[in-house]
Every structure is written in C-alpha cells, then in structure tokens.
C-alpha cells in the first residue's frame, strides 16, 4: 500500500496548520522574488508591511477593518465550498448586498443605528442572497454551471449599479455617481468611539461594530455547517451528491439554500462598507474584497476558525501593502493581489504538491518512532 492519495493519513494539525503555513511561506517567497526583480530589498519591504499593518493603533484598525469584509466574503466562499459549489460571485453579491444596505439606510432616515441594524443586516442578506440564489436555482433546475453564472452575475451587478447610481440614486447637482449621505444617526459606532466610552484610548480608524457582526457570522456558520440538520445535508451533498440523494436529501434544495446563504454572507460586506465607513452608496465599493474571499476561504480550510486568521492576514497584507506603496515609489499596492493569487494557486489548485512529500515525511517518522496515540 502506498501513502499516495490516502487523504486521512496526515495528522490534523499538518493539514490545518502546517499546509497553510507552507502555502503562505511559498507565497511570501515568490513575492520576495518579485520585489528583488523590481530591485528593492525584500526584508526591508516585509518590515515596512508588518509595521504598517500592526505597528500602530491606526494600522491595526485598518487591518481589522479589511479583515471584517474578508471574513464575510471568506465565509461566503467557504459555505459554498462545503456544498461542492464554487461561488466566484461574492464580489457581485457583496455589491448588491451593499445596495440593499444603502437603500435601507436611505429609507430609514433618522432611526438610531441600533434599531436600524437588524433591518440593514436583513436587507444585506436578502439582496446579496438573491444575487446568489438565482445562480443556485439555475444550477439546480436548469443545469447551468454556477461558476460561469456567478461570473456573469458579477458583470451584470456592476452594470446594474452603474445604471442605478447614474440615473436614480445620484445626489442631484453632483457630478460623481454617488448617493446622498445617510443620516448620521445611522452610522455604525466606530471602534474608537466604542472603546473610548469604556475609557480605552484607541486611535481613529474605519474599524467599526461590523467586526463583531463578522465574528458572530463565524459562530453562526460554524453552528449551521457542523451542528444542524441542513448543515449536514449541505456537507453530504458536497461530499457525494448521489449518496446524498440516496439518503433522502434533495440536492436541488441544498444547492439553492447554500447559494442564497453564501450570497447573503457576502452581502454583509455592505454593512461594513456602507453603514460603517462610506455612509453613502458609491461605485465599486467591494473593491476586489469579494475575490479575495476565495483566497481567504482556501487558506482558512473552509473553517471559521481558519477564516478569521486568514482574513486578518489578508487584511494586514492590504493595509501593509498600502503602507509599502506609500514608502517605496516602485512597489504598488497590487503586490497584495499577486500574493493572493499565489496563495490561491498553492492552497487550492496545487494543494497536492506538498502532500506527497509531507506524507513521506510522516510515514518515515512513523517507522522510526512509535505512533503516538
């Protein structure tokens, strides 16, 4: 018997921790190569990134603010993965979810934020969920593949938002396509305000209450996927659709519900961006964070406990990358996108690259040492 292909042979920590760490190491090494190619010093650049992301209160605030959005989109991609679905449409779903938040905020006028929050959360999930549900329905009942459909829906969302903002939502007498600002009473409290009320002095940053909402979403996803009946159905369909059908589970239902939930989670990005930070509807506020959710979900191994650190890592890359671009004229913030792509490649498509070597390593160790219980 060979070790190759035996999936369960690696200890859990090797799969959950060692492999992601290896993936990040490879991604960082390749990025260092890129920085060398540009003619800068990789070690200095890395230092600037770390200091930029974690070296100040503002830096940490920005890191966690990016992480908030990435937790939402990472969870969105992950929950779909568990159902065997690849949702590339988190970007569009987040965009439309934000539209729901913006419309709710514009309609609610002077409501206090805590009263409005349940409404905006529902609006985000309903709008984003709808944008995920339609591709899900099309896959379940019409046989069109969710990958292509969600990509198309990203473009349709983008055209729709331009249309709505340019023709309907634009503030009269203004050139740039943005809505009017929402009522200040609706603004979500920022971290510095909340902690300030507790007597803690924290630097000003866009980090807001949505971060707690994101952590709550992690708990909810964990409970749903691993501790409920529909969650079990979801994982069964993802593992083997035929077996699921044989066990009396209707995969069609599961696909539709999963895509709606996935879209709904992505839509929550709108709460962070629109109600938390921008306070108005504008063009392209998801800014690629929906796509980054793919890397976050892959690196976090689809588990909320992995998605949170992965989101913080990518949040740090975004924030550190911005600092890096500020510090070095020759390095642009798009370096983060390169790192993201390499992580997707090694954590996703090439995940088997390291596995045989690791398996061999552990098999050899097993021979020389007695296996620990």
């Amino acid at each position: 018997m060979t070790a190759r292909g035996a999936d369960g042979r690696l200890p859990w920590w090797a799969t959950a921790i060692l492999m992601p760490v290896l993936n990040v190491a490879v991604a960082l090494a390749l990025s260092a190569l890129v920085i060398l190619l540009i003619g800068e010093d990789p070690v200095g650049a890395l230092g600037t990134m770390v200091v930029g992301a974690f070296g100040s209160g503002t830096g940490i605030g920005y890191t966690l603010y990016y992480a908030t959005s990435l937790i939402f989109t990472g969870l969105a991609v992950a929950i779909a993965f568990h159902g065997g679905l690849f949702n590339i449409g988190a970007e569009g779903q987040a965009y439309i979810g934000g539209l729901g938040v913006g419309l709710a905020c514009l309609a609610l006028g002077g409501w206090p934020w805590w009263l409005a929050l349940p409404v905006t959360v529902l609006a985000a999930m309903a709008f984003g969920g709808f944008w995920g549900l339609v591709p899900g329905w099309l896959q379940a009942y019409r046989g069109s593949h969710v990958v292509i459909t969600t990509i198309m829906f990203n473009f349709i969302a983008s055209a729709l938002m331009v249309y709505l903002l340019v023709n309907w939502l634009i503030r009269p007498g203004q050139m740039s396509p943005e809505s009017r600002e929402i009522d200040p009473s609706l603004f979500l409290p920022k971290a510095d305000e909340m902690l300030g009320a507790l007597g803690l002095e924290v630097a000003n940053s866009p980090l807001n209450l949505s971060f707690l909402l994101a952590l709550l979403a992690c708990v909810a996803v964990w409970l749903y996927v691993w501790h409920t009946r529909p969650g079990f159905a979801l994982r069964t369909v993802g593992a083997n659709e035929d077996a699921a059908r044989y066990a009396g589970i209707d995969p069609k239902h599961v696909i539709i519900i999963t895509m709606a939930l996935s879209g709904g989670l992505a839509g929550l990005l709108g709460v962070n961006e629109i109600q938390g930070v921008q306070h108005r509807l504008l063009l392209n506020f998801p800014a690629g964070l929906g796509f980054t959710g793919i890397a976050v979900a892959l690196m976090g191994r689809g588990h909320p406990a992995g998605i949170v650190p992965a989101a913080i890592l990518f949040g740090a890359l975004y924030q550190g990358g911005a600092e890096l671009a500020f510090e070095y004229q020759t390095i642009s913030p798009e370096l983060v996108i390169v790192i993201q792509g390499v992580v997707i490649l090694f954590a996703g498509a090439l995940e088997h690259l390291f596995r045989p070597a690791l398996l061999a390593l552990f098999a050899r160790r097993g021979k020389t040492k007695p296996v620990e219980a």
Binding site: V34, I148, F155, I156, Y163, V166, V338, I344
Partner: protein, 324 residues
C-alpha cells in the same frame, strides 16, 4: 444615403476591431475546452500578453518582438494551468482564478515598477505598433458605388492581427474537424479513457491544447496593447477573457458559431458607444448599461437553456486518472 452607408460601415468596422481580441481568446478557449480543460484563465493570459507586448515594444521599439514576448508570457501561464490541471490533477477553476489573480497583480506591479507612470507603459509610437495594412486596389476601387467603400473602409485598412484572427476561424475548424490532431483533441475532451485505450497519451494531448491556447491568447494580448491600443494599462482586459469564454459557450464550443457570438458581442459594444444619449424611435433612450450587460445576460439565458441548449464537452474539468 451615402452618409448612412458610411455610418453603418464605421459601425461594422468598429465591430470587426472589437471582435478580434474576443475571437483570438475564444479560439484559445476552444482548443483547451474541447480537450477537456476549463479555460477560465483566458483573462489572465491575455492580460499578461498585453503587458509583455507593450513593455517589450516600448523598450525595443518593435511590435514583432512585443508579440513574441506576449506569446512567451501567455505560454508560461498556460503551462502553469496545464501543470496544475493535468499533472497535479488540481481543481481547474481554482487554478484559473489563481492565474487571473496573479496576472492582474503582477502586470500592475511590474508596469508601475519598470515605467513609473501609474501602472501604465509609455505611449507607443506608430512604428512600435501594428500599423494598418492597405489592401491592394483599396484606393482605386473606392469610387465604385457601395462595394468600393465596403472594400476600402471595412475590408481594407486593418492591422495584420485582425486578418490573422479571422483567418484562424477556418483554420481552427479545419484542424478540429479535418486533422488527426483535431479528432484526438475532441475525443480527449469527451472520453479520455477511450483515447488512452487507443494508446494515445492523454496528458500530452491536453498539454498541446492548453499551449495552443497560450499562443493564441498571446496574440490577443498583443493586439490589445500594441495594435488596438498604444500601450498597457492596469487591468486593460477588463473582463474580455470572460466575455470570450461566454462567446465560446454561446457558440456551443464550435468555431464558426463562436465567431458569430464574438461579432455579436463586439457589435453590442460598438453600438453602445454610439447610442449614448440617443433616443431611438418608438423605444426611447436605451440605457447603455443594459447593452453593456447584454452579452452576460444572453450567456446566462443560454446556459439555463432558455435560448437553445449548450452542451459542454463531456469530460471538461475532470482530471484524467488512469485506472490501476
């Protein structure tokens, strides 16, 4: 009358120009997908090609060296996709997403670092681009009514890559349906184990298909930055790779219908810029965003079987594992 003919000709002329990158990428996708490899990575290959072509042409002043660089860059990404999809049997969608992401980031980073003008490459002078080719007799025949202007305005006066792209359609159809390689490629996308049983190397065939696609996407990228445009801009493909894939699907994975789909998408694009702020009789003003979104909506409707039915190659996306 002559005015509306000229308007129509200029509309069709733009259509042809806008169709070329879609067509080249869609044909690239044709080879990969018919061999069973998902071609979601067209966007990244095209973008890398566009940057390599513009950067090389800017430095050397030669559009042809730029084209070679574009092909090399696109081939490199195609090889990565092939390695992940064929040798490593990885998830092809994930691999493609990774390649598109790396290409988007890397081209922006390198453009910014090497040229330092905000993620662009310098504007290329005319002799570092693919210039217009005036076909023989275009001038002297332009006086002939109707046919003269059509020949002079529409057929003549494009750059060489345009003619290449349109010639590649019958060439691809010939390769796919009249040669041994084509038969094998199509077979390996439908039933790889049958091909394997016949003693033909499945992995090798699939690599060939993916690499042919790499060359074609290199052409598409070079066209964008050194023929249609005069330099590279960050994310200048802006979804054209996905649109090309949509055209391939709309064309039901066949060369000539794919050409028609590319022309339709390009026509919508050309029309859209001309319809801005124009009220049509009986309909009123059509939102340009609707025309922009039309190709995507059409693709969704087609895939859902609401307009016709598209049947993908049977073995697409499935890594081939030899039994035993």
């Amino acid at each position: 009358m002559a005015d509306s003919l000229l308007w129509l000709l200029s509309l069709l002329d733009s259509t042809a120009r806008l169709a070329v990158p879609l067509l080249l990428a869609a044909l690239a996708g044709f080879y990969a997908e018919r061999a069973g490899i998902i071609a979601l990575h067209l966007e990244g290959k095209m973008l890398a090609g566009a940057f390599a072509a513009a950067a090389t042409a800017a430095v050397t002043g030669s559009a042809w060296l730029g084209l070679l660089a574009a092909i090399a860059a696109s081939l490199a990404l195609a090889a990565v996709h092939g390695f992940a999809s064929i040798s490593q049997r990885g998830n092809q969608v994930v691999s493609a997403v990774a390649i598109n992401t790396v290409a988007l980031g890397l081209t922006a980073v390198l453009a910014n670092a090497w040229f330092q003008i905000g993620g662009r490459t310098p504007n290329l002078p005319a002799d570092a681009r693919f210039g217009e080719v005036t076909l023989p007799l275009a001038q002297s025949l332009s006086g002939v009514p109707v046919l003269g202007p059509i020949y002079a305005e529409l057929v003549s006066g494009h750059n060489i890559l345009v003619y290449l792209a349109f010639l590649l359609v019958p060439a691809t159809a010939w390769v796919a349906y009249r040669t041994r390689l084509g038969l094998r490629l199509r077979a390996v996308g439908e039933n790889p184990s049958a091909v394997d049983t016949a003693g033909i190397n499945v992995a090798r065939l699939r690599y060939q298909a993916v690499l042919i696609g790499g060359v074609l996407c290199g052409f598409a990228g070079a066209y964008l930055s050194t023929a249609q445009g005069a330099g590279f801009q960050t994310n200048m493909t802006a979804g054209k790779g996905y649109l090309a894939l949509a055209a391939l699907i709309l064309g039901k994975w066949r060369p000539v219908p794919t050409l028609l789909a590319c022309l339709l998408f390009a026509f919508a694009d050309a029309l859209q810029t001309r319809l801005q702020g124009v009220a049509l009789p009986g309909i009123g003003q059509v939102p340009v965003q609707l025309i922009e979104a039309l190709p995507y909506i059409l693709t969704v409707l087609l895939l859902a079987g609401f307009v016709g039915k598209a049947v993908p190659p049977k073995a697409i996306g499935q890594p081939y594992v030899k039994d035993r």
